[in-house]
Amino acid sequence: MKLKKLLKSIGVLGASCTLALSSLTTSAQEEDTIKVGVLHSLSGTMAISETTLKDTMLMLIEEQNKKGGLLGKQLEPVVVDPASNWPLFAEKTRELLAQEEVDAIFGCWTSVSRKSVLPVVEELNGLLFYPVQYEGEESSRNVFYTGAAPNQQAIPAVDYLMNELEVKRWVLAGTDYVYPRTTNKILAAYLQSKGVAEEDIMINYTPFGHSDWQNIVSDIKRFGSSGKKTAVVSTINGDANVPFYRELGNQGISAEDIPVVAFSVGEEELSGIDAKPLVGHMAAWNYFMSVDTDENNAFIDQWLEYIGNEDRVTNDPMEAHYIGFNMWVKAVEKAGTTDSDAVIDAIVGVEVPNLTGGTSKMLPNHHITKPVLLGEIQEDGQFLTVWETDGLVAGDAWSDYLEGSKDLKSDWVELDCGNYNTKTKKCVGATAE
């Protein structure tokens, strides 16, 4: 009996040894892989949104490996968890670039995490693909902004309201942090340049997770009852949206009276909540899951199969990663190497299909061209596209409507500068904010 047991355990040991050996050999082979860093929070407050993007990246990498990898090598994802902790983002980036020696990083969600990562990426000459809509006013040689700049989301949305719905009074409501504040500053300047009087613009900020919207909604109602068509442009973030829309519904404000156009409410945010009080309100994005193109349907099928859950949704930042990853792949193929400088040179001008039926292109300012779509929220949490721009809109790093930023230009090909002042004919360099 005992002997039998001993033999058995030796057998097990042997088997595990061979396993270990074989894994050793594979890892020896894998030294010849291309490493891709995935820098998304998997814990903490931002985990809700960012985990999806990590999964998207793993899916895209797996897909690319099935197609035979890149430059004849397999891609190897290196996933780290910065835990929604902004300084940790910088540390993890250093770890990815210095220790793991990844060739590109796909990551970040909030602007503050991007700002924290930026100096590290520049110092170690890495590549960062940033997939979320942001406030602009930034350009780095090492960062590629595949999400929307303000002129690819906020400005077209306001144009739609102004021209199609003939909105005359504006409520700019946002959560109190950098993205809403900068976006609202740009929007206020833009509206005033279009002849909207100051008393027709109401700006309101609330803290994160605000839940008592009674006065604000009643103020909006009063502001909107002056006989001029009124709309709310909302940069309200996260879960504060649920009580906000609820209060709108309770106070009897419907989307036909005062529509709310949100820049931070997408399919993912709507999937967890009862969308009834939101029906008819709008959101501006560069992608909707409901867009009916072959590319998009294929992407959705692939995603649902990969994640193994029929109820999951796709959203705009996922498409941004899809575009960014494909652009990087193409640029590496074009350059024939994963070397940062070569890729930075090669990627400008690269064109890849996006999911809404067009072709997005990387511009010299490291932003991309995207269509802008306006959708109305439906009962099922999806969007019905009611308007889209004629063609693609080129991302603009420096807003044309802000003092101090309208003279700046970003061009990493001809000027090799992220903030060239067209008036003084000088590159401002690192001092520009």
Binding site: D219, S226, G227, K228, D239, V242, L384
Partner: protein, 565 residues
């Protein structure tokens, strides 16, 4: 087509079946009815081009089928044509389209159905029930805002002669917000003669006067401006403003200005009332979240940092109840209240027996230990329910608002929570003042050795008191689940406010808690409009600190020997 419900299965016919001249439809069109004011010419123009050559207009079932296909703008025309048929099911179909319950099958020929419940459908055109099993997947017919407001307008026109006075009133109000044109003046005046409800008559007068403000006759404009004095419809105010600024006649401008002033003074009053209500409602939320703490902290002297998490447990209990009885959403809150009380109460007793009882008289250690417990409870919620917020549904009776007049309405959820907060307060007061448990609680909190000497089991009373305070926190959680997101962080948002209320009101005094919650709520809401939500909170804290400097024991300090130690 009046009375033509039992049209035999039209689905079998080809989509463009021969149209017999439908005498019923023509009859209905000619009848003196609301339909009069959709001009016949406009109606013919809006007909889909496919039928333009056809001698008769498409009948109701065909039009309903057309809703399933085509672009949004074509759907808008079809909707108008449906309204113009004056078919008795037209209203039902349009309402279903507006509410998103109008669906179509995916296979051809497309059937248009109304979803009347989970997986039960009726044919939109005639109301016949259909077997849901052979339908395959259905698709909701999408509409956008433009179409939505168009349907609302059409429904309002149909509802002008509805039997229910409320429906008629809403129809007139819808007309006012859509803008009243010359044609409808005559219609409204005619309807007003037969109108029985004075509210509806007043609204009709306002609607007519609003339209007459644009008349070319000076006398009419002057009278209209006079008539509109005190009318609270936002559209009226906007129109009067335009007249007061731009009218060619100075007498009319002055009249409009006078009407405007009277409206504004009324509005000011209502705004004050509204602000007070908002303040009281915020106060009731503060009261609910602080009242449990008033017992554990106020009466027992335990600094319980896990109080917020006990509310969170109550909120999650509501969610669990709703998941367990998905068809009883309307009654779920009544089940959730006792359930949350019991669950949170038991957790509270467990905390007291497991940790706090060893730490009495050591406030710093209690604070740290309960803070640790709060973190454990939050993480437990994350592990059990996921870090995502859970969607707690609002029962029908909790949504919407009580419309007192066009300028002043009270939302039902806030109103009920205000009443509920007061109920909980008085129930708790009664428990403490009238029951034997209350007597023992007061005895132990005032003089523990003496209470024990007369035979009170002090440690049992401690556990019960803590359980009571925790249970009340659970009930507060049920109320909060109706106002805010139910997630692991729910408690954190309220813990500071709760302590603030208890300290301000005076530790150990329930009445103080009530007064302080309500006054903090009202002060906050009066500051918010000009200070902003963020600054208002900061100002409140600063004021509170200054107040505590002056009166360290709060609004209603305890007097006598109990307060000495």
């Amino acid at each position: 087509m009046r009375g033509g419900i039992s049209r035999p299965n039209f689905q079998g016919e080809s989509p463009d079946h021969p149209l017999k001249p439908d005498s019923d439809t023509t009859m209905a069109l000619l009848k003196k009815s609301v339909c009069l004011w959709i001009a016949l010419g406009a109606f013919l123009l809006t007909l889909p081009s496919a039928y333009a050559q056809s001698p008769a207009e498409p009948d109701f079932p065909t039009l309903v089928d057309e809703l399933a296909s085509g672009s949004l703008s074509k759907r808008g025309k079809t909707v108008e044509a449906i309204a113009a048929t004056n078919h008795e099911r037209a209203q039902t179909v349009l309402k279903a389209l507006l509410e998103g319950s109008l669906e179509s099958t995916r296979s051809d020929p497309r059937q248009v159905l109304i979803e009347t419940g989970t997986d039960t459908y009726v044919l939109a055109a005639n109301g016949e029930a259909v077997n849901a099993d052979n339908l395959g997947r259905t698709k909701r017919i999408p509409i956008h805002n433009k179409l939505r407001s168009q349907i609302k307008t059409l429904l309002a026109q149909m509802n002008l002669s509805a039997a229910d006075a409320d429906v008629r009133l809403r129809a007139v109000e819808q007309m006012i917000s859509d803008g009243v044109d010359g044609d409808s003046i005559a219609l409204l005046q005619q309807l007003k003669a037969d109108e029985s409800s004075s509210d509806v008559q007043d609204a009709m007068d306002d609607a007519v006067a609003l339209a007459q403000l644009e008349s070319s006759d000076n006398e009419t404009r002057l009278n209209a401006a006079k008539q509109l004095r005190g009318s609270l419809y936002p559209e009226v105010r906007g129109a009067l403003q335009i007249v007061a600024d731009n009218d060619s006649e100075s007498s009319i401008r002055a009249e409009a200005q006078r009407s405007l002033d009277s409206i504004d003074s009324k509005l000011k009053m209502f705004r004050l009332g509204e602000n007070i209500f908002f303040g009281l409602s915020l106060g009731s939320v503060l009261l609910l979240s602080a009242i449990g703490l008033a017992i554990t902290f106020g009466v027992m002297g335990v600094i319980n940092m896990a109080h917020g998490e006990l509310m969170m447990i109550g909120a999650y209990t509501t969610w669990v109840i709703q998941q367990a009885f998905p068809n009883q959403i309307e009654y779920s809150l009544f089940m959730a209240i006792p359930a949350a009380f019991v669950v949170s109460g038991l957790v509270g007793i467990a905390i007291e027996r497991g940790v706090i009882q060893f730490l009495y008289g050591r406030p710093l250690e209690t604070l740290l230990a309960t803070f640790g417990i709060s973190l454990i409870l939050q993480q437990a919620a994350r592990s059990i329910f996921s870090p995502l917020n859970r969607a707690v549904s609002l029962p029908e009776w909790m949504s919407g608002s009580l419309q007192i007049n066009p300028a002043f309405s009270i939302t039902f959820n806030r109103l009920y929570i205000l009443l509920f907060g007061l109920m909980v307060f008085f129930a708790l007061l009664a428990v403490l003042k009238k029951t034997s448990l209350g007597l023992k609680v007061r005895a132990v909190s005032q003089n523990r050795p003496m209470a024990r000497a007369v035979g009170v089991r002090a440690s049992w009373v401690d556990a019960m008191t803590f359980g009571l305070g925790s249970g009340v926190a659970g009930i507060a959680g049920v109320a909060l689940s109706q106002l805010t997101n139910v997630g692991p962080n729910l408690g954190q948002a309220y813990i500071i406010d709760s302590f603030m209320v208890v300290v301000f009101g005076g530790v150990g005094n329930l009445w103080g808690t009530l007064v302080s919650a309500m006054s903090l709520g009202v002060i906050n809401k009066f500051m918010e409009p000009f200070a902003g939500a963020v600054l208002a909170k900061v100002l409140i804290l600063v004021l509170l600190i200054l107040f505590i400097q002056k009166k360290p024991k709060g609004l209603f300090p305890q007097k006598g020997r109990a307060a000495a130690d």
